[in-house]
């Protein structure tokens, strides 16, 4: 470890401890319970925020520390969350009364479907597939896990196909049925009566034409089995222009959202940690 690294580490530790003590004293004055913990959490959040922001300069050991901490904690958290919400919260209460009691979950016997069958028996399917997936851990029987993977990918792709067919195909067609000239009282009327209704009509008409032509030309751009030449190519060109204008608008909108996130984080640093703003 170089001398510079040692100095930086000492500075960071001292600053952290100083901030912790200061925030804890502040919390104690404010009558907060567990003021030591409160001071630690605020300081920790602030230092981790700064550690992540330090990536703006370049990759560095402080960022690496924050990154590994984040990845490790989040991976552990989601695994724990998956176990307690999916297996303990949803599966066990439907399959085993004794295990439900062990985990203090209310047992759900399901509905009787006639004969020997209960609705809850369907939950054995994910159990079986889960076991099949775990077979990956075995070098000899790892291939069995492909059955579960094939089922997951195939079934969900089929289900998604119906959803896409509805939202991106059928509903897209009917959304393109728009009035293009109806109710339009003519350009002469527009100029002689600059009323709101006439302007509104013009805007609506232009908007409908953009939707109509935009959809048609956008679709033409996504034709893959025909060369984009001649009139077809021009329509395709117009389609990609429409797409690019849409992306530009979307870009600006989303960037504004990101800036508001940054403002939120900086507000935390200045208000909750440094206490400069109120």
């Amino acid at each position: 470890m170089s001398r510079l690294a040692i100095i930086v580490t000492i500075c960071v530790v001292v600053l952290f401890l100083g901030s912790w003590i200061f925030k804890a004293l502040q919390a104690q004055d404010a009558g907060v319970d567990h003021y030591l913990l409160r001071g630690f959490l605020v300081t920790c959040s602030a230092f981790l925020t700064l550690a992540i922001l330090s990536f703006l300069y370049k990759d560095n050991p402080i960022y690496k520390f924050a990154e590994h901490l984040y990845v490790g904690i989040s991976a552990g958290y989601w695994m724990s969350q998956g176990f307690w919400s999916t297996i303990v919260g949803n599966l066990i209460p439907r399959l085993s009364q004794s295990l439900s009691g062990f985990f203090k979950q209310p047992y759900n016997a399901g509905e009787w479907m006639g004969g020997f069958f209960y609705t809850n028996w369907v939950f054995y399917v994910p159990v079986i597939f889960g076991v099949l997936l775990l077979m990956r851990l075995s070098s000899k029987y790892g291939w069995i896990s492909r059955w579960a993977l094939a089922f997951i990918v195939g079934t969900t792709a089929g289900l998604q196909f119906i959803r896409y067919m509805r939202s991106d195909f059928i509903e897209q067609i009917s959304s393109t049925f728009v009035p293009l000239l109806v109710d339009w009282q003519g350009i002469g009327h527009f100029f002689s009566n600059l009323s709101l209704s006439a302007t509104g009509q013009l805007v609506a008409m232009v908007s409908n034409w953009i939707i109509f032509l935009g959809v048609l030309c956008g679709l033409i751009y996504f034709f893959f089995s025909k060369e984009h030449t001649g009139l077809f190519g021009k329509a395709s060109r117009f389609g990609i222009w429409i797409l690019m204008v849409t992306f530009g608008a979307s870009f600006g909108y989303t960037v504004m959202g990101r800036v508001s996130l940054l403002v939120g984080r900086i507000t935390f640093l200045f208000r909750d940690w440094l206490g400069i703003t109120s």
């Binding site: 990845v71 792709a157 195909f169 059928i170 049925f177 893959f224 089995s225 979307s250 900086i266």
Partner: protein, 422 residues
């Protein structure tokens, strides 16, 4: 000093922004609700609702009863004293009746339903006789008039959903088209696919990585194995992995989802076997990072800056992390090829990557790369389906406008055919 200056400048700017935001909230005086008038003793009981009907809700999975009625004569007319309707339910005509919901005055329908799980709140079991009654209620909650009891009615699920017939027709149409072109492709017909810049660049980028002796980073995004874009990405990954195996370059595939990781491992393994280099395949080429969106981004950004891959390929479903990844990759000097069907994220890839596959190009890329009859046939069918959409849109817009100009309603009937309900 440089990082300090940058940080101080950034924080100063943001402080100014936060000050600008920190106006104290203005306390609003409590609004006076003119309807909160004490009940007057002069209210007379309103007329009851009429023509009350209870039917099993159509086109559903069961566990739902739909009630319809004619409003009370005092709802918006007559004495105009009805403020709401309270719906009561029982499994016996004699009662006791329990309230299961309410509807505002003017309403004529109500759906009594529950989730299909037997432990759901207010679970409504199928095939059980049920009886309903509706009270027309005045501002004074105690002054109300019950309707007659209707029933018995039972809820049940239906096997076929009439409201989704257009989807069934579309699926059948697309299925037949796919089968037709699949047959043609298998018979050896030459099905043309126009070149896609982003995909053509993949081979070039892999060659560059080989020359530089640097790895290739393949990011499958945040989608699960059920997302169509992730499935398309697996096909592209297979092609990239095969070429990587042939060139003996190193491949890194960090994953966000454990199932995606398992499928990606199988895909890469199969690609290495296809390339005749099964021994070069290593399990740790494809690995799981974390299920946390920004934890994943942080880790991938770290990989980009520490391992300096020559090429970054982003294919699949991306959300807010798209720009963070692509910007870091650009800073690291990697060639970047991206593709996603997330419309909101495409702009970020367009500005920060060298090549971007927009929306459906991602799906076409897998067919373009694989050249398998199944994929080519499906691609050709998609093009014909798009042609059908264009024809329908033209006809529909024409019909709507001609019909509207002549004050006819048949134009709307054409539109109704494409309406999917429930």
């Amino acid at each position: 000093m440089k990082p300090l200056l940058i940080t101080v400048s950034l924080l100063s700017l943001m402080t100014a922004a936060s000050f600008a935001q920190s106006d104290p909230p203005v306390e609003q005086p409590m609004a006076t609700d003119s309807t909160m008038v004490a009940s007057t003793p002069s209210i007379t009981p309103p007329a009851p609702v009429s023509s009350l009907e209870a039917k099993d809700s159509p086109d559903d999975h069961g566990h739902s009863i739909t009630l319809s009625w004619e409003p009370s004569a005092d709802d918006g007319a007559g004495a105009a004293t009805v403020t709401s309707y309270v719906i009561y339910h029982s499994t016996s005509p004699e009662g006791p009746f329990d309230s299961v919901g309410s509807a505002i005055s003017g309403a004529t329908t109500f759906t009594h339903s529950s989730a299909k799980e037997s432990d759901a709140a207010g679970f409504l079991a199928d095939y059980v006789d049920r009886y309903y009654r509706i009270d027309a209620v005045t501002a004074d909650q105690t002054i109300r008039t019950p309707s007659s009891v209707v029933g018995p009615v039972q809820s049940s699920g239906q096997w076929y959903n009439d409201g989704r017939t257009p989807v069934a027709v579309a699926v059948a149409f697309f299925g037949l088209l796919s089968l037709f072109f699949l047959k043609r492709a298998k018979a050896g017909a030459d099905l043309y696919v126009r070149p896609l810049g982003g995909i053509e660049a993949v081979d070039e980028a892999i060659g560059r990585a080989t020359e530089m002796g640097k790895p290739i980073l393949y990011v499958l995004g945040l989608g699960t194995a059920s997302d169509i874009s992730t499935i398309a990405s697996f096909t592209i990954l297979g092609r990239v992995a095969k070429r990587v195996a042939e060139y003996q370059t190193h491949l890194i595939v960090p994953c966000y989802d454990p199932i995606v990781m398992a499928v990606a491992q199988e895909t890469v393994k199969a690609a290495y076997m296809d390339a005749g280099r099964p021994d070069d395949y290593k399990e740790d080429m494809v690995y799981f990072l974390t299920n946390s969106q920004f934890g994943y981004v942080g880790a991938v950004n770290g990989i980009m800056l520490r391992q300096l891959p020559a090429t970054n390929v982003y294919m699949g479903k991306f959300y807010a992390e798209s720009l963070l990844l692509a910007e870091t990759g650009a800073l690291a000097g990697s060639i970047q090829i991206s593709g996603t069907d997330e419309v909101a994220q495409i702009p970020f890839f367009v500005v920060a990557c060298d090549y971007t596959l927009i929306g459906e190009e991602l799906y076409a890329a897998s067919a373009y790369l694989g050249r398998e009859p199944l994929l080519l046939g499906s691609l050709k069918a998609q093009d014909y389906a798009k042609a059908a959409v264009i024809i329908c849109a033209l006809l529909g817009a024409l019909a709507l406008n001609i019909a509207a100009a002549s004050n006819a309603t048949w134009g709307l009937t054409f539109k109704e055919f494409f309406k999917v309900t429930n």
